[in-house]
C-alpha cells in the first residue's frame, strides 16, 4: 500500500526554483490499479520517482507498505517514459538486466524472459539489438524488463504512449492479465498516461492532476465491471467517465 501525504517537490534549476508538485495526498491500496492523468509537465514522472524513492520529495512523506520511503525501494518494476534499453545488449539480455543488477542468476530467468517477450509480441526479436526495433517495440521490451522479477509493485510512466491505438488496446488487456485482474493475488500498479480512455479502461481509480504545480484535482473511482473487455469501451458508463475526467482536466484551476 502506498500513502502519499502532503508531497511537494521544488526543483532547484539554474533558472530558479521550479515548483513541480504541491500538497499531493492520496493512497493506493494493495492490489489496486491507480491511473494518473494530468497535463504535460504537471509532475507525473516526478511523482513516480518520488514513490520509487529515486528522488526525495522536498515536502511531505511517502510510505510504501507501512515503511517510510527514504531510499530506492526494492521489489518495484519501473517502466520509464522512454525505453532506455542498453544499446549493446540483445533484447533478451536487456530483459534479463534486473536479475543481474539484483545479483540473481540470469540463466534461471531466461525462460521467463522468453515468455514475457512472446506475451508482448516480441517472441522473434529476442536476439535483435534495440536499434533494430521500432520505438513501440522497444517500449514493450522495457515492459518485459520491468516484469522480469515479478514485482508486487509496478510504477509505469506512459508505457504505451508510443504505440498505435490497436497495439495499445491489446497491451492494455495484457497488462490487466499481468496485474491479476479477478484474482486476489493482484499487483499494485500506478500507471501514468496522457490518454483518458486508457486510464478509465484500466484503473480502479483515476487521480486527475492540475497543471503545474501539480495538485490533485480529483480522484475519480471507476466502477466499471471487471474483467474489462473490448466491450467495456463501448458502454455508456465508460463514455460518461471519460467525459467527466475530460471536464475536470479542462476546468480552469
Amino acid at each position: 500500500m502506498i500513502v502519499l501525504d502532503g508531497i511537494g517537490m521544488t526543483y532547484l534549476a539554474d533558472s530558479g526554483p521550479v515548483e513541480a508538485l504541491r500538497d499531493i495526498a492520496f493512497t493506493v491500496d494493495r492490489g489496486e490499479l491507480v491511473a494518473l492523468v494530468g497535463p504535460s509537465g504537471c509532475g507525473k514522472s516526478t511523482l513516480l520517482r518520488i514513490i520509487a524513492g529515486l528522488r526525495p520529495a522536498t515536502a511531505g512523506r511517502v510510505a510504501v507498505d507501512g515503511r517510510s520511503v527514504t531510499r530506492p525501494i526494492a521489489a518495484v518494476g519501473m517502466v520509464f517514459q522512454a525505453p532506455v534499453l542498453l544499446k549493446w545488449r540483445r533484447i533478451v539480455d536487456n530483459v534479463l538486466l534486473p536479475a543481474e543488477l539484483a545479483g540473481l542468476n540470469p540463466s534461471e530467468y531466461r525462460a521467463r524472459a522468453g515468455d514475457l517477450l512472446r506475451l508482448v509480441g516480441l517472441g522473434d526479436f529476442g536476439d535483435k539489438l534495440p536499434r533494430e526495433l521500432s520505438g513501440g517495440m522497444q517500449q514493450r521490451a522495457a515492459l518485459c524488463r520491468a516484469l522480469l522479477l515479478d514485482p508486487p509493485l509496478l510504477l509505469m510512466d506512459e508505457p504505451f504512449g508510443a504505440l498505435d491505438a490497436m497495439t495499445r488496446d491489446e497491451l492494455n488487456l495484457e497488462l490487466l492479465r499481468v496485474w491479476g485482474e479477478g484474482s486476489d493475488q493482484r499487483k499494485t500498479i500506478v500507471f501514468v498516461t496522457h490518454s483518458i480512455p486508457e486510464a478509465v479502461f484500466l484503473a480502479d481509480r483515476v487521480v486527475v492532476m492540475t497543471p503545474r504545480p501539480g495538485r490533485v484535482a480529483s480522484v475519480v473511482p471507476i466502477r466499471l465491471p471487471r474483467p474489462r473487455t473490448t466491450a467495456t469501451r463501448a458502454s455508456a458508463d465508460f463514455g460518461a467517465l471519460t467525459l467527466q475526467i475530460h471536464d475536470i482536466l479542462s476546468r480552469p484551476a
Binding site: 519501473m78 522512454a82 538486466l97 543488477l101 539484483a102
Partner: protein, 252 residues
C-alpha cells in the same frame, strides 16, 4: 557484403590509381628532376631495395608507434576512469592534463632525448604523449553520458556501484574510447616520426632525414610509404576492432 564494400571503395580506389598514373607520366614530360619528385615506380623500387636495411627501420618505428599507441590507450583509459569516478580527481587532474596537452610535443622531444638518451623509448613516449588526450576525454565522457533512468534502474535493484560501472557505464564508454583510439593511432605515427626527426639512430624518420641531406628523394618517399603503411594498418585495425566490439555504434 564484400561486393558492397568493394563498390563503396571504388571511387577512392579509382582516384588513387588515376593520381598514380598522372604522377608516373607527367613529371618526365615536364622534365622534373627525380630528386625533386621521384616517380612512383622509383619510389617502389627504393622501398624494396636491399641497400637500405628497411626491416630494422620498420621494426624500430613500428615499436615506437605501437608502443606509444598502447601506452596512450592504457594511460588514457586509466585517467579517464579516474576522472569519471571522482569529481575531486577530475578537478585536480583535468587542468594539469590540458596543460600537458597544449605543450608543443616537438619542443618536448629534445628534453626526452636529454633525459633518456638516444633510442626507442623517448620516441615511444612522444608518440604516447601526443595521442593520449582524446582517450582521456572520450573515456570520461563515455562513462558519464549514461541515461539517468539506467542509473535509476541500477539503484532500484540495489546494484553496487562497481556493477553499474561494469554493466552499464563501461560498455557505454566503449565506442567513445574506440573512436578516440582512431585519433590516437594517427597521432602516434606523428609522434614517433617527430621524435626520430629530433634524434635517433634508426627508424623511418631518421631515414627521411638522412635521405634529405643526400638528396636521395626516392628513399625519402619510400620511407614515407612505409610509414603510411604502418599508420594505415594500425588505423584499420582499430576500425575493425570498433566494428567487432561495438557493432551497435556506427563509428566510421
Amino acid at each position: 557484403m564484400k561486393v558492397r564494400a568493394l563498390r563503396r571503395h571504388t571511387p577512392s580506389l579509382l582516384l588513387f590509381a588515376a593520381l598514380l598514373v598522372i604522377w608516373q607520366l607527367v613529371p618526365p614530360v615536364l622534365k622534373i628532376r627525380e630528386y625533386l619528385l621521384p616517380a612512383p615506380a622509383a619510389v617502389v623500387r627504393a622501398a624494396l631495395s636491399f641497400s637500405i636495411p628497411w626491416h630494422t627501420h620498420l621494426w624500430v618505428t613500428a615499436i615506437e608507434i605501437l608502443g606509444g599507441f598502447a601506452l596512450a590507450g592504457a594511460a588514457g583509459v586509466a585517467l579517464g576512469v579516474a576522472i569519471a569516478w571522482s569529481p575531486t580527481i577530475a578537478r585536480a587532474l583535468v587542468p594539469f592534463l590540458v596543460f600537458v596537452n597544449t605543450l608543443p610535443k616537438v619542443a618536448v622531444a629534445p628534453l626526452f632525448l636529454l633525459w633518456l638518451g638516444y633510442g626507442i623509448l623517448p620516441n615511444l613516449l612522444i608518440a604516447a604523449l601526443i595521442g593520449f588526450f582524446p582517450v582521456v576525454i572520450n573515456t570520461a565522457v563515455g562513462l558519464t553520458q549514461v541515461d539517468d533512468e539506467l542509473l535509476d534502474l541500477g539503484r532500484a535493484f540495489g546494484a553496487p556501484t562497481w556493477k553499474v560501472f561494469l554493466k552499464i557505464r563501461l560498455p557505454n564508454a566503449l565506442p567513445y574510447v574506440l573512436s578516440a583510439l582512431k585519433i590516437t593511432a594517427t597521432a602516434a605515427v606523428v609522434g614517433a616520426i617527430v621524435g626520430e626527426f629530433v634524434a635517433s639512430q634508426a627508424g623511418l624518420g631518421m631515414v627521411i632525414v638522412n635521405a634529405q641531406t643526400n638528396l636521395n628523394t626516392p628513399v625519402a618517399f619510400a620511407a614515407l610509404l612505409w610509414i603510411s603503411i604502418i599508420g594505415l594498418a594500425l588505423y584499420g585495425a582499430v576500425g575493425l576492432a570498433a566494428r567487432w566490439w561495438a557493432p551497435w555504434a556506427d563509428t566510421t
